[in-house]
Structures are given as C-alpha cells and as structure tokens.
C-alpha cells in the first residue's frame, strides 16, 4: 500500500479575473522510502500540489474542488483539523524554496528547531533541545551547541536551508515534501544539500517528494519522476525510464532545451510559445498549442494518463496510438 495516494486533485483559485485551474486533476502515489520528483516550469502547479496536500492553500481565494490525498488511511483533504495537526509537521514535513523568508527572524534557531517536538508533545523541553542539537549536527552544522542560540540572520543561505531541513526532520517524519529546496542556492551548496537529503533519507527510511524545475537534480536523486504542465501530469515513469525513453513531446522538449546536453555553438532547441493561460478552459491537451506533433485529435477531449510499459504513464494521444515516439 502506498504511503501517500493522491487521486484527481483539483485546486482552483477564484479571483476577480477568473478561475485559475492551478492543479487540474493530478493523481500520483508515493511508497515508503521512495523519492518522487515533480518537475515542471513555473506555473505548472507543482508547488500548489504540495501546498494542497499540506493544507497550506489560502481559502479563499483557493478551493480544493475535488480529489483525495490518502495518507495511511486518512484523507488529508477532508480530515478534521485535529487529525491534520497530528499528521502535519510530525509525520509529513515540508521544506520551502526560500530559506531567507521561511524562518522566523525573531526567534532563536533553538526555539524553531525544538518547536515541532514540543507542539506535538513528543518530548520535554530539555529532551527536545538534545534532539534538536543531534539533528543540527546530522545536517552538518558545525559547533551546533553554540550556533543553536543564533538568530536566522546570523546564518548564510546554505546554513539556513540546513536549519530548515533540521526543523523538518527533527520529528523523524515518514514523508518529506521539499519544494525547490536548492533553487535559491549556489551549485556547490546545492550539491551539499542534495547529498544531505540523500543520506538522511537512507538513515530515516523516509519518503521524499522533491519539487524542482531542474531535470539534472532529478536525475541524481529521484526514483520516480512526474512531469507537470498547466496543472496536469504529462508523463510519469521511473527516473531511468523517463530519461532513456521519454514519450510525451513536452518531456522531450524539456530535455532537449537543456544547454548542457546540446552541442556547443549550434542553436539551442526551444519549445516555441508560452505556457497556456490556466484561467481559460483547456478542452484538449494543454500542450497541444506548442507541440510540434499536434493533430486535430489532440484538442478533442482531454487526454488521460495511459500506461506505456511497466510504471510508465503518459498523457499524449498520439504517442498512445503509436504515431510518434518510436525513434
């Protein structure tokens, strides 16, 4: 049984300018100890998916229109606030993109890292401090005993992200949701943080949902990947399979537009056009407008995720009918 199973999640934002379908029918599951990568450009709904699971969508203007997120028998989207509190921050933790703004500047690190343990009644103050120190050392903060008394502004970006990770992991959660945790960091610091997540995941046996726009990060870290576009899942497969045999034209386009994989001096491959406006209904495939393989049937009805081999799903009608993707 998967640890988390999300089915047909739809999160829409009702604003004066119309209804934005930020997440529009997303289904996926994560097993214990597994790492799932969610890849997509900005506005593809990857962060809103995570925020919906964590109950962090401001309502209004947001509304979860349909769907379920089953975590160990509890539907996170419909459970009571008390049930949600007993899971959130304890069994599911989240780390955010921007370590500069997601720590409270008024509180010492010690208070912020021990807070989850104390709020959830998992430890006494003294015990919590001991465990917080252990976790600070585990995430590679030297001289933790002294630095736990610091305030966030006394740390660099990489160090703050370590503090965030320590905070998220101090309760030993079963699932960690990481929303672009390395996007704001330099590559050398990113390499440190990715190593850290990989190591702690092994030690604690937790599952990770890793949201990123960087296919390179996914390649090194994740077991499975799902590619999102305009609030929908375009393709999902094991990492090795997705990189070796991408079937959806959007996945292929993304992969081909990475400068590092292309010969120097040649013009870079680009996906023409812009992502669609999710405030307008998209009857067909969301990518059809920019797709080099688009055919009339692509805009007749929304393509469903269909299997194409073990564990490999994609939402392209033409690939499904065997008309493209056989090169």
């Amino acid at each position: 049984m998967p640890l988390l199973e999300v089915t047909d999640l739809r999160t829409h934002f009702h604003t004066r300018n119309g209804t934005y379908r930020a997440v529009d029918g997303v289904s996926f599951s994560v097993d214990r100890g597994q790492t799932l990568g969610i890849v997509g450009e900005s506005g593809s709904g990857k962060s809103v998916t995570c925020y919906s699971i964590m109950g962090l969508i401001p309502q209004p203007p947001g509304r979860i229109e349909s769907g379920s997120a089953m975590f160990d028998g509890v539907d996170l989207l419909r459970c009571t606030p008390a049930q949600a509190r007993s899971i959130r921050g304890k069994r599911i933790s989240m780390i955010f993109q921007d370590p500069m703004t997601s720590l409270n500047p008024f509180l010492r690190i010690s208070e912020q890292v021990t807070e989850p343990l104390i709020v959830h009644g998992l430890a006494t103050r003294r015990e919590a401090l001991r465990r917080a120190l252990e976790m600070m050392e585990a995430v590679g903060i030297n001289d933790a005993a002294r630095r736990i008394r610091f305030y966030p502004h006394e740390f660099s970006g990489g160090m703050r992200q370590r503090v965030m990770i320590a905070m998220a992991l101090v309760t030993r959660p079963e699932l960690l949701i990481a929303d672009e945790p390395t996007t704001a960091l330099d590559v050398t610091v990113q390499a440190q943080i990715l190593d850290l997540i990989r190591r702690l995941q092994k030690e604690l046996g937790m599952a990770v949902i890793f949201v990123t726009h960087d296919l390179g990060v996914v390649a090194g870290l994740c077991d499975r990947v799902q590619v999102m576009y305009a609030g929908r899942v375009m393709e999902a497969a094991s990492t090795a399979e997705l990189f070796a045999r991408p079937l959806h034209p959007y996945t292929r386009g993304l992969q081909r537009s990475i400068p590092g994989l292309q010969p120097k001096g040649r013009e870079l491959f680009t996906i023409p056009g812009l992502p669609p406006d999710v405030s307008k209904p998209l009857p067909g495939c969301a990518f059809a407008e920019r797709c080099e393989y688009a055919a009339p049937k692509c805009i007749q009805g929304r393509p469903e995720l269909a299997p194409a081999g073990p564990g490999h799903l994609h939402a392209c009608v033409r690939a499904h009918d065997g008309e493209i993707g056989r090169d």
């Binding site: 900005s42 590559v187 050398t188 296919l215 390179g216 390649a219 590092g260 120097k264 870079l268």
Partner: protein, 327 residues
Amino acid sequence: MDGPILELRDVKTHFPLHSGFLLRRQVGAVRAVDGVSLTVREGEVVGLVGESGCGKSTLARTILQLVPLTGGSVELNGRDLGKATPAQMLAARRDLQMIFQDPYASLNPRMTVQSTLSEPLLVHGVCSAAEAPKKVAELMALVGLAPRFAQKYPHEFSGGQRQRIAIARALALRPKIVVADEPVSALDVSIQAQILNLLADLCRRMNLALVFIAHDLSVVRHISDRVAVMYLGKIVELGPAAEVIDHPRHPYTRALVSAIPVADPAAERARHRIVLAGDPPSPINPPAGCAFHPRCPYAVARCSEAVPPLVPAGPARQAACIRLGEI
C-alpha cells in the same frame, strides 16, 4: 574577432565599512572585486561565472561605472572610463550597455514599451521624436516581439518577453559591447533557451561583444567563446569556454563543474563529485594566500603564504594555482 574593445586592468572595487557614530572611522572594506584584469575583443562573448558573493555582479557594475572604482582602470576603446568627464561618459554609454537579471524589476512599470525603447534614442539624440515609433518597431522586430505591442506596459508581458524588451532597450543605441548580468537566471528552461538563442544570434549579426554573467556553467559553456571563473573577487581560471568547463585545471573550477547536476541518471549516479565543505569565506577578511585554500582538497602549507598569480595553463588558458603541475 578584431582588436580589444574593453580592457580591464587590475580592477578593484572595495566598499568601505564604517564604525562609530560621530567620529566615523573606516574599519575595513568589503573587497568585492580585488584585482581583475580581462580583455574583451570585438564580437567576443566572455562568460563570467562564480558563486553568489564572488563579485561578478559588482564587476559588471564597475565596468558600467555604476559603482566607483577603487583601483585599476576600465578602458573602452582605449579611453579610461574612470577619468572620463560626465559628457565623455554619456558618449561612452552609447557603446556600453547593460541587461539586468530581473526583467520584473528592471523595466519601469509606468512606461509603455514604446516610451521605454525610445528614451535612449531621444536622450542620445539618435533620432527625432517623430522618427522614434519606426525605430522602436525595428527594435521590437529585432528581438522577436510583434511591434503591435508597443503601447503595452511591462506587466502585460511574460518574463521571457520582458527580458526581450530589456534586450531591445540595451541594443537601441547599437552598442559595441553589452554586459548581461544573469539575463536568463530568472527564466524557465524552455524560455531560457529562447533568450540564449536570441543573444547568440544578435552577437553574430551585430558583431556585438558580450560579457555574459551567470552561475549556470552549462549556459555559459554554450554561449561563450571564453570563460572567466571568479572566486572571492579574483579570476582563478580563464580560457576557451568548452576547454575550461570540460577540462578544468583550477581546483575550484573542478569542484564547481562537478557540482552541476547532469540530466542523465546513469552518468549522474556514476560520476565522481567533489563536494566542497562550508561556504565561501567573507570578502571583508579574506584568507591569506590563495582565497580558496581553506576549502581546497589539494591545499598544502605554502598555499596560504602568497596570493597565486594567474599563470599560463595550456593554450590560451590561465589559472591561479601554485600546484597546477602537481594535481
């Protein structure tokens, strides 16, 4: 490629630090740029890479004389910009333009595209107000925007389109050299590729020299002829872009290259990664000798004795490491 257009000689930009209230004394300086020499030839693309805080953006601003020079000289077409009168400087700006990182912040939200693009033309008296609309339409076409958008405001455009407007503004005066400070960092992968293609194409067509600043090495490798790697205000390695990134000589470049995630699962998991410990040191109080030695896996005692100069390291290449021959 012809003669040098921009010549930096031992450029230093220090920001003084003061303490005290009434008797303000200078207690130190942030050595943001600390002795950079670099020559850019006509039509050449020079990439400038390094982590945040290494001084690459300050160097860009120093070239444009947006921050005062502490030492050394910046010569454009043989004229020392540090000694130029305001009138001479205004004239020099026709040849020297800049593109900023964040197209959301660098365009005036209250100005239409038309007024943004015609402002430099009118300030420099390139054309009369009556001719401006025609010039603006040409510029918009040059960067791939439809001239019918001329009366729109920046908020009506996407990030990629705004960056095109910023590029058009920089090119309005037909400069000989443009300094682009992380022009694609704020954009998504597929849009990033479009902007890179545009810049590469414009450089070729207009014989434009470009100083391209980025922290993404794969982007720099793609677009640049030569690349300069900076660490703590100094250039540590310089040479042809593909050579430096595929076969780095300086230990810092090696670590930087090995930290880039590669979008290929098999290669990514197999390769050896040099994970640097800690953060870059403070430019207020840089380490003695080679600034990289506290984090360098190859450091020996004599690395902390003297600042290593840039020495030849292969054809057209230079690196600042005393152990080049040994490692």
